[in-house]
Amino acid sequence: MNNSIMRNDEQAVFALRSLYQRYGYTQYKMSRFEEYDLYVRNKDFLVSDEVITFTDHTGRLLALKPDVTLSIIKNTVDRPGAVQKVYYNENVYRVAKGTHTFKEIMQAGLECIGDLGSYEIAEVVLLAAKSLQLISPRYVLDLSHMGLVAAVLSACGLSEEAKAQALGCIHQKSRHELSALCAEQGIAPSKEAKLQALIDQCGGAEQVLPALKALLDTEEERGAFAEFEALCSILAQSGYGANLRVDFSVGNDMKYYSGVVFKGYIEGIPAGVLSGGQYDKLLQKLGRKSGAIGFAVYLDLLERMEKQESDYDADILLLREPNADPFALMQAVEALQEQGRVLVASAPPEDLRYGKVLRFTEGGLKDE
């Protein structure tokens, strides 16, 4: 198929589907609607808690799905020792930030649910990197580890409320706010340095990790660090190290995310196009034993990516006489299609632009 006629998001859907299938993920197709109750109980997990609802003919309150992950989790069961791998491309319905109107957003992604080992986690993060690479080679995948961030916050002796505030500062890379918070909480300078390092230390894993390691002292911190370091090393060995950045500003939710969290950016698109992480805590909250990791690619953002657009609506405008021989004209059109898109009209259309204009006459084609 000719890629140039496909929009960026259409191209991405095909490429991503084939990528996920190669890794044995099966497509998960779901209904447009879901019981509203599912979202209400887990509304913090959603990007936006505004949901379009309606009552179906039996009186149940349904919602147009604002999220895919929750539906997938709901429809999988725990099987000890097994892992379920699914991918999807689905429309979700969310309130667009700033406009307060609902938008239909095309989302692709995958989820890996079950007894996760370090292989499964590395595979999902690798697929996230590969997904970005398929969209554009100029990408960055930011990686963080919620377990490590949570361990550092605990080691600094912050109250639960202060932890959430500190996480907010790290999320915004706001050193000054974090300093003010530490002063207010009476945090020792050595501990503050460790918190500030979570903002300052960002970049390639090979520089960031050794610098951070030197600051960690509790067992919990070291345990989470070792896990994160091992993951970064696998990704680097797979040849994806150059586009990976360790950045602890990714993810600001300790309630659902437990391990690695990541966000992908493409040059030329102002917001993150891929977002994911390991969310074992969400499953625990739902009374499940499995672990889970996944990500979503926001395909609607890809339309902001630059694509060479044609200056013309048609390459050739072919003007015909009212009594032109239809068969001869059809043959002429097919021959001209070698040169591009051909529009046949009896008079030049007013609102379209075309590369060149030809007239079809009995004697052949003539320039206009």
Binding site: S174, E177, E267, P270, A271
Partner: protein, 210 residues
């Protein structure tokens, strides 16, 4: 790909002061100092492009990537909660978000508090934390007259010196949060123009004194 750093500055006195800091940091753009009505100024040599926008719009330009970095008041950041990095407190344009009311105002928790403000989200968050039932009246200007005319019980607004309040017989009762100008960055721009943005941040930071 465009590697210029796009910088949104707030129009007005604060913006001019902020530009001086950028200039001091080595990112000058001589054309900006010419007296004219242009809004966009470039210095390709230094890799910067400045533009003047309405102060309350800076965060929008940055969040949506039309600007890579910009300078916005903390009030705007708290009100609109744009998804941006907040890299630096520039320690200028200092003021505070406060609750003010008529001198003789006595709050009674027995009834709903009527709050007039330009900042409904900040007001709602503040009173929410106190579990206070409020009725928000969103106004766009001349907030001070709302309590005088009985439109509201209190106002939530920016207080710089308190002079305007005083002249209208109002007094600030509580400070919600201190406000100052912040350097903000678009999250994607921060990844792809990191070196330039870091250099600017550092140049500005060196000029900040408490």
């Amino acid at each position: 790909m465009n590697k210029m750093v796009n910088i949104a500055l707030p129009k007005g006195r604060l913006g001019e002061k902020v530009y001086k800091m950028f200039k001091e940091a080595g990112f000058e753009c001589p054309s900006i100092e010419e007296q004219n009505r242009k809004l966009i100024f470039e210095n390709p040599e230094k890799g910067v492009r400045y533009f003047w926008v309405k102060p309350s719009d800076v965060a929008i330009y940055v969040e949506r990537g039309a600007a890579d970095i910009g300078v916005a008041g903390k009030d705007i950041l708290l009100e609109y909660r744009p998804d941006v990095y907040e890299l630096l407190d520039l320690n200028m344009g200092k003021c505070r978000m406060a609750v003010a009311a008529k001198k003789d105002f006595r709050d009674s928790r027995g009834r709903t508090l009527k709050v007039a403000t330009k900042f409904p989200n900040i007001a709602a968050t503040y009173y929410n934390e106190k579990c206070r039932d409020i009725d928000i009246i969103k106004l766009n200007g001349s907030i001070e007259i709302a309590p005088i005319l009985g439109l509201s019980d209190v106002i939530v607004d920016i207080v710089e010196t308190g002079k305007t309040l005083l002249e209208n017989d109002l007094v600030p009762f509580e400070t919600i949060v201190p406000i100052s100008a912040r350097l903000i960055a678009n999250k994607a721009g921060y990844k792809f123009k990191n070196e330039a943005i870091q250099a600017i941040r550092k140049g500005l930071e060196e000029q900040i004194h408490d």
